[in-house]
Symmetry: C2
Subunit: 434 residues, 2 copies
C-alpha cells in the first residue's frame, strides 16, 4: 500500500502521468513468473539446493538472502596435483554442507543441519586454469580492460579461486565459510572477502526484483531462471523451448566461439564480479527527479520513465512536449540496453553490502557531514560469453552513465565457473583430467 | 534427524547413557513454550513489532535474525536541550521505520516497507543521564569493575547512547541504521558498531535456543518472554501470574532498591553488553569431551551432562563411579548457576558475529595455521538489577570458568534502557522532564 501510494506520487512529480495509457500497450521485458507468495511451509532452514547437477548451484538458484564472496590466492608453489587435492577436499565439504550434513572433521557439526538453501559456487581464476597445464587459458580469463570510472584496489581485484557461499541463514553461511577455509588454508590464503545481503527469504513475494542501498530496483531485465533466455545467455545452451528474446527475432543460438574450452562447455559459464562502492552521501543529496533522470526509471515502482510497470520495455525514442527524449540517452537504462543486439544481455545476481564506520575513520561527505555508512554492491554478472555479452554493456556504461557520479568500482575479478558434477566427482575434474 | 543421531553418539561417547533414566525425572529449567513451527503465513517482511508500548521493543521481543549494535558518543558541547532534540528526532524515526513507514526526509523511502519485525532499542549511558541535570546518576551506570579475563579495547567500551537495531531482514536493518545515524550526526559520532546475527526467521522451530559459533546452545536457562519470571527479572515487575522460579520458593518480588530512579521504573530495565571474542582456532583443536567438560553440557542436544534434555536442570551434585561430580564445578554451567539465589538470573539476548580476515592481517593460531575467521558473541544481558543479578554471575565466571580459555571480552558497556512511550512522546522524556 505504501509502495503504491509513493508510486503515484512519484509519477505525478515527474509528470509521467500522461504515459500511463501508452504504457499499458508497451512491450514487456522478460520477467520471472508473476509475483507470488514464497513457499514458507515447514522450516526455511530445511530447504536444500541440490549440489550434484549439470550446473553448479548458486547461479540459476533463486538468490538467497546472504552471500559471502571470498577471493583466494593459491600458495606460490602450488602444483596441479596439490590443486586437485584442494578441489577434492572443498568439493566434498560443499557437497555435505549444502545438504545439511557435517563434512569429515567438522568441529561444529551442530551448525550443519538447517542449511537454508546453502550453496557453494566455485570460480577459477587465470592461474588455477593455467596450473592444469595442457590447456590454453582463455583470453577472457584475465583482468578486464581498465575503465575510466575504475578506482580498483589491487587487493580486491585478484584471486585464483572464488568461493561464492550463499544461503538464507547467516549462521549456516558463516559455518560453511569456516569449514571451507580451514580445508583450503594448507593450499591457499584469503585475498579479500565481502559479506553481503539481499532481502530475507519470505520478506518479499517471489520474483520481486532486489533493491540496492540506493533504493533502486536492480535486475529488472534479468533473464528468468529456468527460461530459454537464461539457458542461452548464461549456459550457452538451448532448452528447445519458446524464447521471448531470441525466438521473437529469429536469432540463431549463441555460438560460444573457439575461446570457450571444452572443460567449460556443457554446464559451465563465466562470472564477472565487480565490487562497486556507492556514495550514499551524494546520492542522498540528489533529489528524486535528478535520481530518476539518471536511472531512467521511477524509483518507487521501477518502471521506465516511459512506462507504468517495472517490466515495461523502456521506450528510448519517446519524446516529451519539448521534443526531448523522456528517457535521457545518458541514463543508466538507456546506456545499458542495446535493442539491436539481443545477445548483449547478462544475468545479474547482485548483493548489497553495508557497514557503519567509526567516526575516526568515516571521513566527511561533500556537505562536510560525517559519513555514516560504507555501502556498495557486489555486482555478480553471469554470462556465457564475456566478450560479446558483458563487455559491450560495460564499455557503454563505463564511457557514460549518469549513475556513475555516485558509484565507483573498487574491485574487479573475472572467473570461469566450471560445470556441475556427479556424485563422486570434484569441481574442475574436466579441466584437470579432461 | 541429523541432530538426533549426533545426540545419541555424543551421549555414548561421554558415557552419560546411564543418566537417561534419571534425566527423565529431573526438574526442568523454565523454558519457552514447546518448540513449534514458526508462523510463516503471509510475508515475513510484513510482520511488525509495536513501537508504542509500556516497554521498548527489542528486549522481550522474540530475537530477530539480525542485530546492529551502535555505540554513539555525544559531541562535547551537547546540552540537555540538544539531547532532547536528538532523542525526539530519533524516536520519530524509529516509530516510523519499525512500522514500515518512511520517516520525514527519508531519502530512500523504497526501503521502508517490509520492516520484518524491525525494532530500535535505545540505551542511555552515564553521560546522557547526567546531562538531564537534576537527577542522581545511578551507581551501576558506569563501567563494570575489571575482570581478570578482560582485554577491553577502549574504543569498544564507551558510548553515551546505544542503538540496538534488530530485524529479520538485513536490508531493513541497514536502511534504519543509515536513517538514524544521519539524524544523529549533527549531535553525535559513532564510537563502535557490530553487525551480528542469529538463525534466520523460520530456520528453526520457534523456541529453539540460539547456537553460537562454537556450536553451543546459548540461552537455555533464559526466562521465557511473557512469563512472570521475565517480568520480575527484567522489568522488576510482577504479572501476578504463577511463577516457576519465584513462586516455588515463596520469594517476595524483586525489590529494585533505592538506586533505581523513577524514570527507569515502570517499564525500564538495564543492559550489560559484552563483546566477547571467540578463539575458533583453539576451540577447534579441543576434542568433544574436553569441550563438553568445559561447558557442562552435551554439545549436540544442549542437555546438562546429568540429563537428557536441554531444559533438564543440571544436577551439580551427581557423581560418577569414581566419586567425581559429573558436571565439573569449574564448568560454565556450574559457575553460572546459583541455586540458592534464584534472583541471580539474567535474560541473555545474544547475537553472533563472524568475519573473514585477509591473510595479511589474519595472524596464526596456536598450531601455526593462518586464522580463517574472526568470530564472537555480542552478549546482551538484560536484568532489572545489575548489582544483584548480573554481577554475582559475572564475578563467578570471571574468576573461574573453563570456557574462559577460548573467550576474551574485548568490549564492555552498561546501559539504562528507558521505558517505552505513548504516541507523541519521546524515549527518555521521563528522565529529561520527570
Amino acid at each position: 500500500m505504501d509502495i503504491r501510494r509513493r508510486h503515484v506520487l512519484g509519477a505525478s512529480v515527474l509528470g509521467v502521468g500522461a504515459g500511463v495509457g501508452a504504457g499499458l500497450l508497451a512491450p514487456r521485458d522478460p520477467a520471472p513468473a508473476p509475483a507470488a507468495l514464497p513457499d514458507t511451509s515447514g522450516l526455511n532452514g530445511a530447504r536444500l539446493e541440490p549440489f550434484h547437477a549439470r550446473h553448479q548451484a548458486g547461479v540459476e538458484t533463486i538468490p538467497q538472502a546472504h552471500a559471502l564472496f571470498i577471493g583466494i590466492d593459491l600458495e606460490e608453489e602450488t602444483t596441479a596435483r596439490r590443486a586437485v587435492s584442494m578441489l577434492r577436499l572443498l568439493t566434498d565439504d560443499a557437497a555435505a554442507l549444502t545438504q545439511g550434513r557435517a563434512p569429515l572433521a567438522d568441529p561444529e557439526p551442530e551448525l550443519t543441519p538447517q542449511p537454508a538453501r546453502l550453496t557453494v559456487t566455485f570460480g577459477f581464476g587465470e592461474r588455477l586454469v593455467a596450473l592444469a597445464g595442457r590447456r590454453h587459458v582463455p583470453d577472457w580469463l584475465r583482468p578486464l580492460e581498465e575503465f575510466t570510472i575504475d578506482r580498483l584496489e589491487p587487493e580486491r581485484s585478484r584471486g585464483d579461486l572464488l568461493l561464492q557461499i550463499c544461503g538464507d541463514d547467516a549462521l549456516a553461511v558463516a559455518h560453511a565459510a569456516r569449514m571451507l577455509l580451514k580445508d583450503a588454508r594448507a593450499f591457499a590464503a584469503v585475498a579479500w572477502s565481502r559479506t553481503a545481503f539481499r532481502r530475507a527469504y519470505g520478506s518479499d513475494p517471489t520474483g520481486t526484483t532486489q533493491r540496492n542501498m540506493f533504493g533502486q530496483v536492480d535486475g529488472t531485465a534479468n533473464p528468468g531462471p529456468g527460461s530459454e533466455d537464461f539457458a542461452r545467455l548464461v549456459w550457452g545452451e538451448s532448452t528447445g523451448r519458446a524464447d521471448p528474446v531470441f525466438s521473437a527475432r529469429g536469432e540463431p543460438p549463441l555460438d560460444l566461439g573457439a575461446d570457450h574450452p571444452a572443460w567449460l562447455r556443457e554446464g559451465g559459464t563465466t562470472l564477472v564480479l565487480r565490487d562497486i562502492a556507492m556514495d550514499m552521501e551524494t546520492w542522498d543529496e540528489a533529489d528524486r527527479p535528478a535520481r530518476e533522470f539518471a536511472v531512467g526509471r521511477d524509483l518507487a515502482s521501477g518502471a521506465p520513465l516511459t512506462g507504468t510497470d517495472e517490466h515495461d520495455v523502456p521506450d528510448l525514442t519517446a519524446v516529451d512536449a519539448r521534443g526531448l527524449t523522456r528517457i535521457s540517452p545518458a541514463s543508466h537504462v538507456a546506456r545499458s540496453r542495446n535493442e539491436a543486439k539481443p545477445e548483449e544481455q547478462i544475468f545479474r545476481r547482485v548483493y548489497n553490502y553495508h557497514g557503519v564506520p567509526e567516526a575516526s575513520t568515516a571521513g566527511t561527505g561533500p556537505s562536510g557531514s560525517r559519513r555514516v555508512s560504507t555501502a556498495g554492491l557486489m555486482f555478480a554478472s553471469y554470462q556465457a560469453d564475456i566478450g560479446r555479452q558483458f563487455l559491450p554493456i560495460q564499455r557503454r556504461l563505463g564511457g557514460m552513465d549518469l549513475l556513475n557520479q555516485w558509484t565507483t568500482p573498487i574491485g574487479s575479478t573475472v572467473w570461469a565457473i566450471p560445470p556441475g558434477i556427479a556424485d563422486g566427482d570434484y569441481i574442475g575434474s574436466r579441466l584437470f583430467e579432461g
